[in-house]
């Protein structure tokens, strides 16, 4: 989503602007840290077991025993939200890293080598940009009755074109810079220029892109589980919880709204961090 970046602040106001941005960024980092802690230690933090049923309580609103109330099977919503952080975090990390790996390989190849292979890769990227990616994921995962990991694999393929495009344009740009030409004059081989010199200088941008990919993926993966695809029924997963609580919204709205807010705020936090990284990294690149 690099095209959607907000403009870089002008030099005259950079100080005041930076200050504000950093407050938001710090808040985002703190929230993400919280989510990561929940995803690792969720089972021990949660006040109840995520799948423990209490049919006597049944569907109920918030109380002192259950801060966010219970769902129709009497399961504690707060515990399920905490435990659900795991599927919300693990999948997007795998997708972001996988897309970075594929995108780096294809993008560097297309940018540095070019040729017919390069244009073939870029045709593929153009095609992927023109189609509704999540819809493809829905059809593929739905028809194949795919598991969570099938959904993750499909999303890696659908997410990588963004990374490919960034790496390609970066490689094309860096290829013509004096340092790359100097390396060439010094007799370095193409692959060593590419991997020892060009790749490291593009690395920061792909890391920033990975944060943005994480944000998109958490929403997409939750959308799949909301539609009943990927994660199995009954699992403590934010998307699943939303889907299951949809019909119970009159009884305990928190069971539906809190997982929704968690998805949105996690995604927004990652977007903020990614945008901030992008902005500061590309500014640094320009100053160099």
């Amino acid at each position: 989503m690099s095209e959607l970046l907000v403009e870089a602040p002008g030099t005259s106001t950079i100080r005041s602007h930076k200050h504000r941005v950093q407050f938001l960024v710090v808040a985002a980092v703190v929230f993400i840290a919280l989510v990561v802690v929940c995803s690792i230690f969720g089972g021990s933090i949660a006040p109840y077991a995520a799948s423990a049923q209490d049919l006597g309580t049944g569907l109920a609103g918030p109380s002192s025993a259950h801060l966010l109330g219970t769902d129709d099977l009497g399961r504690d919503v707060l515990s399920r939200v905490i435990v659900g952080a795991r599927t919300a975090v693990v999948g997007p990390i795998v997708v972001a890293v996988g897309a970075m790996a594929i995108g780096t390989a294809l993008g560097l190849l297309a940018g540095y080598r070019g040729g017919w292979l390069g244009s073939l890769i870029m045709r593929w990227v153009d095609l992927m940009y023109a189609v509704p990616q999540l819809l493809i994921a829905i059809v593929v995962v739905g028809v194949l009755h795919g598991s969570y990991w099938v959904a993750v694999a499909v999303l890696i393929v659908l997410t990588s074109p963004g990374d490919t495009r960034i790496m390609r344009s970066g490689a094309v740009e860096q290829r013509g810079l004096p340092y790359a030409e100097a390396a060439k004059v010094n007799g370095l081989s193409g692959s060593s220029i590419l991997f020892r010199h060009i790749w490291p200088s593009l690395m920061p941008l792909t890391v920033a892109q990975s944060f943005l990919n994480f944000a998109t993926t958490i929403v997409n993966l939750a959308a799949l589980s909301f539609l009943g695809l990927g994660v199995g029924p009954g699992a403590a997963d934010w998307g699943r919880m939303l889907a299951e609580a949809r019909t119970l919204i009159a009884g305990n709205p928190w069971a539906a709204i809190v997982p929704g807010i968690c998805i949105a705020v996690t995604a927004a936090s990652m977007n903020i961090i990614g945008d901030w990284l992008y902005e500061s990294l590309s500014l640094r690149g320009r100053a160099r």
Binding site: E7, I138, V143, A215, A223, F226, A250, G260, I263, D275
Partner: protein, 338 residues
Amino acid sequence: MEVAFDRPGPALGYESTVTAKSIVFYVLRRIVAMAVLLLIVSFGVFSLMHLAPGDTVQVLLGTRPASPQLVASLRAQYHLNDPFFVQYLHWLADAVHLDFGRSIKLNEPVLTALGERMPITLFYGVYAFIISTVVGVSLGVLAAVKKRSVFDRGAVAGAVLGVSAPTYAVGLVLLYAFALQLGWFPVIGPGSGFADRFWHLTLPAITLATTGTALTMKMTRAALIDALDQDAVFFARARGVSGRRILFVYGLRNALMPIITAAGIVLTVMFTGAVLTEVTFALPGVGTLLIDSISSKDIPMVQGTTLLVAVLVVAVNLIIDLLYLVVDPRVRITGSLQ
């Protein structure tokens, strides 16, 4: 997108290099590319259905008892005894004649089923697109003009949240607040007659429009700030050109390309959003039809629906590219010379 728009054209006389012929040629080439793409998509979905777990005959049988005669006749009817590729060619030959077969689950022709569901999806889809464009562009313009004001910062923060918020979560919150708690809108059903339908589909339309509005706002704001940052604007101000003229003629006209790009992205995103919105609001549209036919393995229906969506996506992309030609003369050259 084959159109490059970052290449400046020659300064003078460029209008004359654009012949009607070259544009017709460009459009024809795009249409051929579209047909190839549709062929790839239909083959992809066809292969996917074959890879899917479960026995096709079992699905076709439905609740009927599996007598050998019936199984044999079904296998013959759906060409299941032929090799995979021949099966695809059979389907393609029918599809070219606009015969997409019968839905197994609904027991009616695929086209009829799509025709019944289409009006609802189209209604709130257009509704949502109008909301996202009007609200998104207006907020984007306001934010760009009042750059770095409190309003601008609020709009930017809202856009980050709007882009991040999942469609289904927005829908549920709206449903709970405005339909269940306040009772302003109906909870269920698509309504009948224009006014009633408008009322019934307002919440789904707002839900579907959320992401689009945020995207449009973000891109309009960035594009307009860029356009107003040009030297030409600086000198126009010095010459005493009115603020209104600067905004509309110098600013918005130059920001139009990114805004059209945004509209294209928004439309593409909306195809997915429609599925999620319809499931959230339990609307009988094309999105729920797709999900239902996927889960019941209704092969002809999935094929027909995905092909319809593919046609729409491809058409949207073509229209956006043609709009570029209309809006920016520079594209007319690079577009036709390529």
